[in-house]
């Protein structure tokens, strides 16, 4: 690798330049969240200023903020738990007892992802209205579970495939039942994989902004919808918008950083590892 060192410095420079450019909007939002509203729209823009926490205080003071944040948490966790409950048994069966139809089933599950949300907007809207699920958390949980289920099955399937079958064989010889096998042998072994699958599901649910904007108006509206409500009084509340946005993206950004490797596998359905 020594041959590379001659042009090392400009690669370092270029790499950092690109990284900073891509990250800049997030950085700018972050520092704006510590400005006063007046400083946020100042000409010329201020890079150095007296930081204030007043925007965060103001955001927390709006009681509704907690409703939106709580909705985001409940909906993403709810959808993630529900899809794991459905996916783990399915992935277990498909990876350890494959039949001729397993491959077809997996591909078919994936194909349900190809249905564009907008194609079923009207029926889902009407169904949700008829069932009283419009603007409810449970309605969004059901939809996010269904949207993410193929990816979750697919990811867990690929993690289960990496568990050596001999371990399960040995355990089965000892007379373990299917449930014991799953509970005491497989789940502990595949835990890192399941955790990263859960993270991906949380990230996708947290950031989902088609159904949340169309099906939730207030009671069940998550942070995506809350942030969208800032689009009308533009120019007036940049600092508060920045503070709210920072709070809304911070947990997911950290989850994303932690699990970037596994995300590739999940997002490409295992086609790129």
């Amino acid at each position: 690798m020594a041959s590379k060192s001659s042009h090392q410095w400009w690669i370092t420079l270029l790499g950092w330049l690109v990284a900073c450019l891509l990250f800049f909007p997030i950085f700018w939002m972050f520092i704006t969240s510590f400005k006063t509203e007046v400083a946020a729209v100042a000409t010329p823009p201020k890079l150095f200023f007296q930081p204030t926490l007043e925007n965060y205080v103001a955001i927390q003071a709006r009681a509704s903020y907690f409703n939106f944040a709580w909705n985001s948490i409940v909906i993403s966790l709810g959808a993630t738990i529900l899809s794991l409950l459905l996916a783990i048994p399915a992935a277990y069966a498909m990876s350890f007892f494959p039949t001729k139809r397993t491959k077809g089933t997996l591909l078919w599950m994936l194909s349900t992802k190809m249905l564009p949300s907008v194609g079923v907007l009207v029926p889902i809207y009407i169904l949700a209205r008829e069932l009283g699920l419009l603007d409810t958390r449970i309605g969004l949980i059901i939809i996010y579970t269904l949207i993410n289920l193929p990816i979750v099955v697919w990811m867990i399937y690929s993690f289960f495939k990496e568990v050596p079958k001999e371990i399960l064989e040995a355990d089965r010889m000892d007379g373990a039942s299917t449930w014991q096998e799953l509970r005491h042998v497989l789940l502990p072994l595949a835990m890192p994989g399941i955790a990263s699958t859960a993270l991906l599901s949380i990230i996708l649910s947290w950031n989902e902004a088609f159904w949340s904007l169309n099906l939730a108006t207030f009671n069940a509206a998550p942070l995506t919808a809350f942030i969208a409500s800032f689009s009308s009084p533009q120019g007036l509340f940049w600092a508060k918008l920045s503070a709210a946005s920072t709070l809304a993206i911070a947990p997911i950004l950290i989850f994303g950083w932690v699990s970037q490797r596994q995300l590739v596998r999940g997002l490409t359905f295992g086609a790129v590892k």
Partner: protein, 305 residues
Amino acid sequence: MTSVATRPQQPPAAEQKRSRQKIPARLLVAPSIIVLVLWMVVPLAMALWFAFQRYNLLLPDNREFVGFANFTYILTDPALWVSIGITLILVVSVLLITIGLGTALAVLFNQDFAGRGVARVLAISPFFVMPTVSALIWKNMLMHPVNGLFAQITRGLGLGAIDWFADFPLIAIIIIVSWQWLPFALLILLTAIQSLDTDQMEAARMDGANSVALFRFVVLPHLSRAIAVVAMIETIFFLAIFAEIFVTTGGGPGLATTNLAYYIYLKALLEFDVGGASAGSLIAVVLANIVAIFLMRSVARNLDT
């Protein structure tokens, strides 16, 4: 990743049938299949049913079967064709930008340089920002014609300010979506590059291949499948871009940023025209399916059960 190496060698003995487990295995898969069948079939059947009716949510009593009238109405609506055109422009331009730059950046971040890990984390961050947040940051703090950073910089240079969403609304949307998805392309392509066999690279270099030839004849062929997968997945998402338009332009000015998804939304939830919106959504489904067929093929090739 090591998994690539361990994958192919499944002991053939493990493939033998275990009749004892067969029935429970099928039962374990059933719940997932049933809910997904419902999720696919019920709404599509409803859309098909509505598409042949005059059905406005504001006039629910006026509901009647009208044959292909909705399709004739939708297909002769100039706005539909404008929106399909805008959808295609959006999809193709963002694909070219994210994959072109993404490949270049993947090569860059594959080089060993000081602080590469941190730089890579910063570079992929935009992908994790929720669409409504990124649209609003760009709309207000960067592209705003008076107080936005871009306007301030260009005005400072004596160039005057660009009113992005009035004069170049579609380009503004393309920039925002590209910023969100370039990290995705980078992340996937970088992972693919890192699985490249270094021995092969060294061998090619020994044979006197320069960097350009190395990229053209070793790296690019290796990346071709990953690029195809990125293109297909992005296409599925780009066909349904919604939040970015909803938050910034509302489809305007005029129809300048109304893509097919937004057109259907306007029909369905603003005009309450269920019949027309359903006919439009079936068109969207057909468009997406054409893409999906190609994606499924490239994934299927890689699936070893």
